[in-house]
Symmetry: C2
Subunit: 335 residues, 2 copies
């Protein structure tokens, strides 16, 4: 295994310089520190063999997701993780990410330098710079709603979206709906791609006609509903499943503006079960993600990776929360 | 929640009779005991609230799988499960299953009557009677290599077969192979279906032509290789992936009988990494399932279900064990 001496030898610096760099000592230049950390990562030097005295700590890295109050999607995920990690003796640091930070340093180097043996990563899009690093990284990382194939140091945690989509389609079919539409933000994240794909496979599984025109996709929620809701209604769609609850809420507003009553004229299903869903007009039927349990699963998966068990996928069963945004299929009326 | 008194009232028997039936007392008829247990299950009576004094116990139910010595596939799976369950205070009973036993009593009733709060189930085929029960059962059950959709009391544990198949196809493609065949036993189990499906998706993912004639399927291994190996060779296949290691070993024998050298003339990849793979002629390249870790994951998933966390899927990363049954793509010669 790589030692501090090996790293020093490769770079022609002393062991103590390497040690200073890896421990963030102030009397070393930023450039040299970066070179040493990157060389350490390249040579497979592992944080796990460092000083045992310091407190064990893990990080939750968050990009593209709000988490600071209880109405935010990430809030309960982080609580769930901490509820298991902290009693197990870990300090948990929550660190917001941005692309500049990701570009300034590789993922393994970041983790090594900050002395984190493992990370729980929330909200990464497919074009985030570290998504590339994670293809070949060595530091245990659990990703919420992102799947990295063939890297045994990474695990994907989420709900079973295929099951959730199937629950939604089956439920609408049982209410008599035969033509169901789908609205989504851009397919720039793993999970929007999965939901888009499983929407069509759920239609086929339930014996309903699958047609690409049944899905409307735009980057912005407002653009998406303004552009695609009228098109779906024109096609005779009597129910719409949305990629997330905000989209579903905007869809309900848009439908009402078009003179449609919910659920009499059109049924709407969301995805996620955000706290707002109980208070939308009408209260929203949605596929639930239990964020607290997802956070706990995130910790359990990370613990497995840290113990050398290459867990790759850990999915919670999905469930459908029935409220009042869906009804028996009637004829869509446009006044 | 349902009590013993509720069950007695429904059936018009005393509380003590119900209690006797649920505790296997000898002074009660087999017919009455069966009726009481089935009614208890139907009414949602849960073992979890029974006598706390007795030792906690779990069962491993095994059908269609050998497990009694270290060369058997199930051996290490059971050891892995016990390595975590026993230190946690559980007695683990290993119970062989057959269809007659499954037909004589429902799954929930069996578990309730034997006082098992949860089960780890190995080797079930899709037509096993309890596979139906498991669609709607309430007793926590983790299934190795079987997926039950939409039942939050069940979890599927296995390796990521899609990833494993992709590793095998990519590996062969990198060796220059462009026409790869697949041999499988009957598609009567969840996992043979998954491997068959993922074989074709792996071909497509790697930019290779996918053609149904590239897969040969027969119930018996000997029939499969005798019938399909010549057909695959005739089609110009230069590599064959097999649904399991025994099939791969038989394929190597069959190829040699047809005058082909392995790996010079044809490459063979197995699935599972059984202990025999290191000693086949030549030693076999295969997709590994780490049985010990699978057993451990089985326990971890069952623990989650017992704690009310509806884990639905837990997959280990697959890996490819490179031995000597694959080589650079040459021209297939038939002498």
């Amino acid at each position: 295994m790589t030692t501090i001496a090996d790293i020093g030898k490769r770079l022609g610096v002393s062991k103590s310089t390497v040690s200073k760099a890896l421990n963030n000592a102030p009397d070393i230049s930023e450039t040299l520190r970066k070179t040493i950390v990157e060389t350490a990562v390249e040579m497979g030097y592992s944080k796990l063999r460092q000083n045992k005295k310091e407190q064990k700590k893990l990080c939750i890295l968050v990009e593209n997701m709000d988490y600071t109050n209880e109405l935010h999607f990430g809030y309960q995920i982080i609580i769930g993780f901490r509820q298991l990690a902290e009693p197990a003796g870990y300090q948990v640091d929550v660190i917001p990410l941005d692309t500049a930070m990701q570009r300034s340093m590789g993922f393994d180097a970041f983790m090594l330098q900050r002395h984190y043996p493992g990370a729980f990563i929330l909200g990464m899009a497919l074009n985030d710079p570290w998504m590339n690093d994670l293809q070949t990284s060595h530091t245990p990382a659990v990703l919420y709603d992102n799947y990295i194939p063939e890297n045994p140091a990474t695990c994907y945690v989420g709900i079973d979206n295929s099951e959730g989509m199937n629950l939604a389609v089956k439920y609408l079919k049982n209410l008599g709906h035969r033509k169901i539409g789908y609205l989504s933000t851009s397919l720039g994240s793993y999970i929007t791609q999965v939901r888009h794909r499983t929407f069509f496979s759920a239609l086929r599984k339930n014996g309903l006609k699958s047609d690409p025109r049944l899905a409307g996709i735009s980057f912005h929620v407002s653009e998406c509903v303004q552009k695609h809701v009228p098109k779906l209604i024109e096609q005779g769609v009597t129910a719409i499943i949305c990629c997330h609850d905000q989209m579903a809420n905007a869809t309900m507003v848009q439908c009402r503006e078009a003179g449609l009553k919910i659920p009499e004229d059109i049924s709407i299903v969301g995805f996620d079960d955000l706290p707002i869903c109980a208070y939308t007009e009408p209260p929203m039927t949605t596929v639930r993600q239990d964020q607290l349990l997802l956070g706990k699963c995130g910790y359990q998966a990370l613990e497995s990776l840290l113990e050398g068990v290459p867990v790759g996928t850990l999915l919670l069963h999905a469930s459908l929360v029935e409220r009042q945004s869906c009804g028996d299929c009637g004829r869509v009326k446009i006044d």
